[in-house]
């Protein structure tokens, strides 16, 4: 297995910021070069560690948004939380050429690979799209036709992370359906959903339980728990629903 993500010991590595991409007014992607990076699986995360001049250290976990690929590049996407300790630095102050410490890839539970198959139901709230984007990018990069539906909840259209890329993936990919719900502000003549994800919406968008979709849900804890509960009530097998909650540790 080339670039295997199975390594024996997690070690802190120094990553260099090679590019910064503003995704939305509050969200920025960091393209990092990580010498010795062993490769990763879609859905895995890294721990990022920052050290202040006085030696104080703090760390946070961030999902990897880029598809598994050979080489030393990976992309993290960070939402700026105003009361956060780390995210304002990563999402606003960081400059190309800066260095930060990270370790990974981490996680063997919330992961997807082409060989796992589908159909695939991805449900995201806000920056919960990030690990799911790694799956969509992998799917596209390999020309996979695994039937896939994404239901993505954002506050407004301008808060939709990767909006142009999602449009492109739908236009050029195979068997991919993307549905947005905008919970706070909608453009005029918005034809999509405009409420929080609920059971009715999941009934419309999700595959029927007897099609046994593999389901990944990522977002704020309340969204993840309400979606997972609705899916179980609709008859989906709990063991095929994988969740990743991000609580207050994302700041």
């Amino acid at each position: 297995m080339a670039g295997t993500a199975l390594q024996r010991r997690l070690t802190w590595r120094v990553a260099e910021v090679v590019d910064l991409v503003d995704e939305t007014p509050r969200v920025r992607s960091l393209v990092l070069s990580v010498p010795g990076w062993p490769g990763h699986l879609a859905g895995q995360h890294v721990d990022v560690r920052l050290t202040a001049d006085d030696g104080y250290q703090t760390q946070r976990s961030y999902s990897i948004a880029s598809a598994p690929a050979a080489g030393e590049r990976l992309t993290l996407t960070v939402e700026r939380l105003d009361d956060g300790e780390v995210s304002p630095y990563l999402a606003a102050e960081l400059r190309a050429g800066d260095k930060l410490e990270l370790r990974g890839p981490i996680g063997g539970y919330f992961v997807w690979d082409i060989t796992i198959g589908g159909p695939l139901l991805l449900v995201a709230g806000g920056s919960g799209i990030c690990p799911l984007m790694a799956m969509l990018r992998l799917r596209q990069a390999t020309g996979s036709a695994v039937p896939t539906r994404l239901l993505y909840s954002s506050r407004s259209l301008e808060d939709v992370i990767y909006r142009d890329e999602l449009d492109r993936l739908v236009a050029t990919g195979t068997a991919l359906d993307v549905r947005l719900t905008l919970t706070r502000d909608q453009p005029e003549r918005w034809a999509g959903y405009h409420r929080r994800i609920d059971t009715d919406m999941l009934t419309e968008v999700a595959w029927a339980p007897n099609e046994r979709p593999l389901i990944f849900v990522c977002g704020p804890t309340p969204l993840v728990e309400s979606v997972a509960e609705s899916l179980v009530n609709l008859g989906h097998e709990p063991t095929r629903i994988k969740t990743e909650r991000f609580g207050p540790t994302g700041g």
Binding site: G104, F110, R245
Partner: protein, 97 residues
């Protein structure tokens, strides 16, 4: 500020980095059996309670909320308690071929 239970509930996946330091092998895909209710599941699917800046975390069973394990990383030590895990099984990731 009052802390709501839901605010500090994460998935076992969130402790995967911390616990991989201890176990070397990948933790969130490891399976274990709950001593309280007998449920068997992947550690990444269990509930993790971890407050920001707290030195420790509690992993609880997603089925019955019984405590599976407690991990504290502070003062240059790891302390692990396993009172609610009958067994824990992880892939030997050194074998990759």
């Amino acid at each position: 500020m009052e802390i709501q239970e839901q605010d500090v509930r994460l998935d076992g996946n969130a402790a995967a980095g911390l616990l991989q330091e201890v176990f070397v092998h990948e933790f969130s895909g490891a399976r274990g059996a709950c001593a309280s209710c007998g449920a068997v599941g992947e550690m990444g699917a269990q509930h993790l309670y971890m407050a920001p800046l707290a030195p420790g975390a509690v992993l609880r069973c997603a089925a019955c909320e019984g405590v599976l394990m407690v991990v504290v990383h502070a003062g240059g030590r790891f302390r692990l308690g396993f009172r609610g895990l009958v067994w824990l099984e992880m892939k030997d990731t050194a074998v990759t071929s």
